[in-house]
Amino acid sequence: MLTTFGNKKMFHYRQKESNEVVFKTANASFEIRLDNSMLPPTSGSVIGVALNNKALAKSLEQAFNEKPHVQPPKTPVLHIKTDNTHIGYASSIKVPTDKGAVYAGPSLGIVIGKTATRVDTNNALDFIQGFTVVNEVSLAETSFYRPAVKAKCRDTFCPIGPWTVDKTAVSHPNNLSIKTFINDTFVHETNTDQLIHSVEEIVSYISSFMTLEAGDIIIAGTPERTPELEIKPGDSVMIDIEGVGRLANPVEQE
């Protein structure tokens, strides 16, 4: 269970109520009614950091040195999850049946708290409101040479939520266990200590040329899409990040 810290509201979320979007806060997670009226906790831009996992990068070492990549990435590899992909807790992930396997992408989500331009790693945390859970759903990627619009930008391919938990409640963002459950079976575990570029480095790097706004979310990094992370119509997928929250979504055919 997530804890309460004095009088400060720790949880920030959005819900749909009679077709209106309502912003809410809560002191404790049990106060929040979790159902499919939940929306992503913010409506900002969502930027992903690809290939930001030590084991994944290791597994691609050879490919990184061959054509078309030629050499390993010199800077964090970024992509955009467009607004049509964003869904909240309990909304359905809709998967096509003719595009090959579809994978869950468990990741910590970094929620920006105020406008960030050219932020130093040392004070990057000052620009972070808190953290959320992201499921960066993707088709299989055979190459990282061209932008992954087809693999990553299908409708409903980015569940986010259920809430933003205030950063003061998360003492070690670079050491958080991330567990994935499919149909209530524990299938995968990773940890934010497996990120190549830390939370602070990511915020600093992106803000060096892209101004981040309050409510923008950064997907810190997803692990290798191994078969355990494949999701199919009828499944229920849940991602649990230590001290942040549990994001659950059903999967249905597109």
């Binding site: 955009i80 619009v149 892209m210």
Partner: protein
């Protein structure tokens, strides 16, 4: 009809442009040039086509692709007409790209090529700057090349779709300090507008305000601080932009 968005007395206003190319508020007031700031005329997803003109593909020594090569930009890069774009200090090659921008007018999912033009709300001019020094072979062209603050001027205004008789026969021209540098015509698009809308709406739902930057023809050149870059699409608009140094830019933020 032409519509735009401006900042006037610290307020964001949706305005129209009259026959004399003057800005008119919803109350009917004509605003003097220089009394307001141009903002991007639309907001939404930003799709950009790479190598979508055969001549430009040759210029970059690429074969034209077999399917549209689409990348995304983020809204941080958008600025309006008559604003400044900064060139990073110590880079070798920063170039403009004059493009016709198609703006989506109504929600589109799984639209056929035959129906696609019904989903176009209007057109505007885009300048898709790139810093080639930062190219890497991962999700190329990567965001550091293309999605930089101030690197996507757009505007000045949106022209209604019905006012552009043939969007596939419009001249594109770029001038640096008044000298013609780039010239092309939308008739040479590798993938035309219906093809692009059908292609994208097969992947995802497009919504009003989404922008498709349709690509740029040959004629790229380096731009330096002090240069005034004018990108023009026949019948759609003339978009002016000034290059400043990173040092100057840092004084403004």
């Amino acid at each position: 009809m032409k519509s735009a968005r401006i900042l006037f007395n610290n307020k964001t206003l949706d305005v129209t442009i009259n026959e004399q190319d003057q800005v008119v508020t919803q109350q009917g007031d004509v605003l003097a040039d220089g009394s307001f700031t141009w903002l991007p005329p639309c907001e939404g997803k930003m799709f950009v086509l790479a190598i979508n003109y055969a001549d430009h593909a040759a210029e970059l020594s690429f074969k034209a692709p077999e399917e549209p090569l689409v990348f995304l930009k983020n809204k941080n890069s958008l600025i309006g007409h008559d604003q400044n774009t900064y060139r990073p200090d110590n880079v070798d090659y920063m170039h403009y790209e004059c493009e016709l921008v198609v703006v989506i007018g109504k929600e589109a999912k799984n639209v056929s090529k035959e129906d696609a033009m019904n989903y176009v709300g209007g057109y505007t001019v885009g300048n898709d700057y790139a810093i080639r020094d930062y190219l890497e072979n991962y999700y190329r062209p990567n965001l550091r090349v293309k999605s930089r603050d101030t690197c996507t001027p757009i505007g000045p205004y949106l022209v209604d779709a019905k006012d552009i008789k043939d969007p596939h026969n419009l001249m594109l021209r770029t001038y640096i300090n008044g000298e013609l540098k780039q010239e092309g015509n939308t008739k040479d698009l590798v993938f035309n507008i219906p093809h692009l809308i059908a292609y994208l709406s097969d992947i995802m739902t497009l919504t009003p305000g989404d922008m498709i930057f349709t690509g740029t023809p040959e004629g790229l050149a380096d731009v330096k601080p002090g240069d005034v870059v004018t990108t023009e699409v026949e019948g759609v608009g003339v978009l002016k932009n000034t290059i400043i140094s990173e040092t100057e830019y840092l004084k403004t933020i």
